[in-house]
């Protein structure tokens, strides 16, 4: 939340002129250093992004190459001797390389789904909060109706209707998750709508679009960024969920959810087949959540002072 009155009453002459000067990335790093968990989060996120961007360089094998003679090889840390350091799966594909390429799928779907839901939710939330009236009632009702509906059921229904593919998973996740953005945007917009600087802009005869974007949305961007970060992590988990159920990414594409599902049959004997992608999901979501926490602390003016 952007609380402009957090500094209390009126201070006769404020001298902290540096506060607005330092570049934002420097402040991010500084705060991250203060919060060790933030550092850990940034590290995990950096690994995730690097894996996604440079998969061909980081992977040791072709993630699709099958080697029937080298199926279910032991990983190196369990005494395996092959050149597959995390072993191979039931079709002899290199597990490590598949996890690396899986990061690409996860991140792509997580980010795209959040972009879809953020665009829908923010636009509706701004309109509802700014204009009020019947638009507001309609959006408010839709948000409540959507939130009352079990999320995974909705996403599953959508994927079944649209057909299982990466694009449709993004669409399904995006459509079923916009209420989160709409709700926050709507409430914050209603508050800002009454702020005197917004009234001043209206009093100056500025158009609604300009007031909405320059005076309201610009002051909402920070809290929405925090929500978006956390929602990326949730979307990644939801993608694996859909893929695990066979409704998401289809084999042989290396998705962590698909790998989890494929390893399920061997979980009692070749346990690492599902455990390692599971650990990847866990670490990715953890990293993004920690970064989200750090961002929230950083962007809250009351915490920034301390």
């Amino acid at each position: 939340m952007v609380d402009t009155t957090a500094n209390g009453g009126i201070e006769p002459e404020r001298q902290d002129k540096q506060a607005g000067r330092a570049p934002i990335w420097l402040l991010v790093l500084r705060k991250a250093w203060q919060l060790r968990m933030g550092v850990f989060g940034f590290l995990l996120l950096a690994i995730l992004v690097a894996m996604a961007l440079f998969s061909p360089l980081i992977a040791t094998h072709d993630p699709y190459a099958q080697d029937i003679l080298a199926r279910l090889e032991l990983p190196g840390f369990l005494g395996g001797t092959s050149d597959h350091w995390l072993g191979t799966d039931q079709l002899g594909r290199d597990l490590y390389s598949r996890i690396v390429y899986g990061a690409r799928v996860s991140l792509m779907i997580g980010v795209s789904a959040v972009v879809v839901s953020a665009v829908i939710g923010i636009v509706l939330g701004l309109l509802a909060g700014y204009f009020g009236g019947w638009i507001d009632s309609l959006v408010d009702f839709s948000v409540n109706a959507m939130l009352a509906f079990p999320f995974i059921l909705l996403a599953m229904t959508l994927v079944i209707i649209l057909g299982a593919s990466a694009e449709n998973v993004i669409l399904a996740l995006g459509i079923s998750n916009w209420p989160i953005f709409a709700r926050v945007t709507r409430i914050e917009t209603r508050k800002l709508r009454e702020q005197e600087y917004v009234l001043a802009a209206l009093a100056q005869g500025l158009g609604h679009l300009r007031v909405i974007f320059k005076h309201i949305f610009a002051n909402l961007a920070a809290p929405l960024l925090v929500i978006a970060t956390v929602e990326i992590a949730r979307s990644i988990i939801r993608e694996t969920f859909l893929s695990f159920l066979g409704l998401g990414i289809q084999p042989p594409t290396p998705s962590w959810g698909v790998m989890l599902a494929e390893g399920r049959a061997y979980v009692l004997t070749v346990w690492w087949l599902s455990t390692l992608p599971g650990a990847a999901i866990f670490l990715a979501a953890l990293g993004i959540n920690l970064v989200g926490d750090a961002l929230r602390d950083l962007l809250d003016p009351r915490l920034r002072k301390g």
Partner: protein, 335 residues
């Protein structure tokens, strides 16, 4: 400075407010049913002459800020007219209203909430000017304005949080001036400031008024500030105006018991100031949801009698250009 000045009509008052009403609905329950109304402004009339400063005074919650915001149509009024240069602001369509708004500007009370924290000073002050005029030299124009309100041109690239309360209020004043309005509404422009800074800002407003020649509606709860700046004063109580007079008449010879009590409550600083018998008003302002019957002040008035409880007093010109709404003066005339 290609400001649009074609709409000026030369004579007549700049603003004439007639029977302005604003009832805010109170909504409750799942279906948002209206269960009552806050009678924030209830039939207000006043006139501002060209070049005049009208002070609008009253306790907090009496509706004086709502009047200011209504004049810019920041709320949709329940009823009434506000003729700005002869044309009713309350009946205007969006485009016409947006054009009219450029000639009426507002200065807000809270210098922290009234400036967009994401804007630099030059955008804060120059945004509307640049968009409305398309002036390529808008930055120079802003620099010039900053000088006039006592800031420096090199403050232009700073953000509001880098300034003190008084400086921020100066930025707000520069923003209001940027469109060269013919009427400025100042809603408690100094009550959030330190006393030492208040005087500076009031004096600044006074001299800017002389320089720019705008008419001025000065809303305040502080009678001493209003006395300093206003030509005429209107006293507001619970959504109604109870007395209007020139600055001098009102302070030296207040007629309405409420005005008398307000003036008696102003602390006097001069040595040997005469101690007036203080008719202090008792109790709190009644709720504007269910305002008292008859004269709204009767619940607190030291001189109320039976008629005050039943009949709403009308505005009458008790002395030349000195209007009051009080039954005491009907009595004097009829009995």
């Amino acid at each position: 400075m290609a400001m649009d000045t074609t709409e000026t009509t030369a004579d007549g008052p700049i603003l004439e407010v007639r029977d302005l009403k604003m009832y805010f609905p109170i909504r409750k329950g799942l279906l948002k049913r209206t269960v009552g109304h806050v009678h924030a402004v209830d039939g207000v009339n006043f006139t501002i002459q060209r070049g005049e400063t009208l002070g609008l005074v009253g306790e907090s919650g009496c509706g004086k800020s709502t009047v200011g915001r209504l004049l810019l149509r920041l709320y949709a009024p329940t009823a009434g007219e506000a003729l700005f240069e002869g044309r009713d602001l309350m009946a205007m369509q969006t485009d016409e209203l947006n054009r009219a708004r450029r000639h009426i500007q507002i200065i807000f009370q809270d210098p922290f909430a009234s400036l967009n924290p994401r804007f630099r000073v030059k955008e804060l002050v120059g945004e509307a000017y640049r968009l409305h005029t398309g002036d390529k030299d808008w930055v120079a124009y802003v620099a010039d304005l900053l000088g006039k309100v006592g800031l420096q041109a090199d403050h232009m690239n700073r953000y509001p949080h880098e300034f003190s309360g008084g400086q921020r209020q100066r930025i707000g004043i520069a923003r209001a001036l940027a469109l060269q309005p013919r009427l400025i509404i100042a809603d408690e422009p100094v009550s959030a400031l330190d006393v030492s800074v208040q005087a500076q800002v009031v004096n600044l407003l006074d001299s800017l008024k002389a320089e720019f020649g705008f008419s001025f509606l000065f809303i305040s709860h502080d009678l001493s500030v209003v006395e300093h700046i206003a030509d005429r004063v209107a006293v507001m109580y619970l959504g109604e105006i109870v007395e209007t007079a020139s600055d001098r008449n009102l302070y030296q010879d207040p007629l309405h018991p409420y005005t008398q009590a307000l003036i008696a409550a102003v602390p006097k600083a001069e040595a040997g100031a005469k101690r007036r018998r203080k008719e202090v008003v008792r109790g709190d302002v009644p709720s504007p949801i269910n305002p008292p019957s008859g004269c709204r002040f009767h619940t607190r008035c030291p001189r109320a009698f039976a008629r005050c409880r039943s009949e709403r007093p009308r505005m009458r010109e008790e002395k030349p250009d000195h209007w009051v709404a009080c039954h005491l003066y009907d009595e004097a005339e009829h009995g």
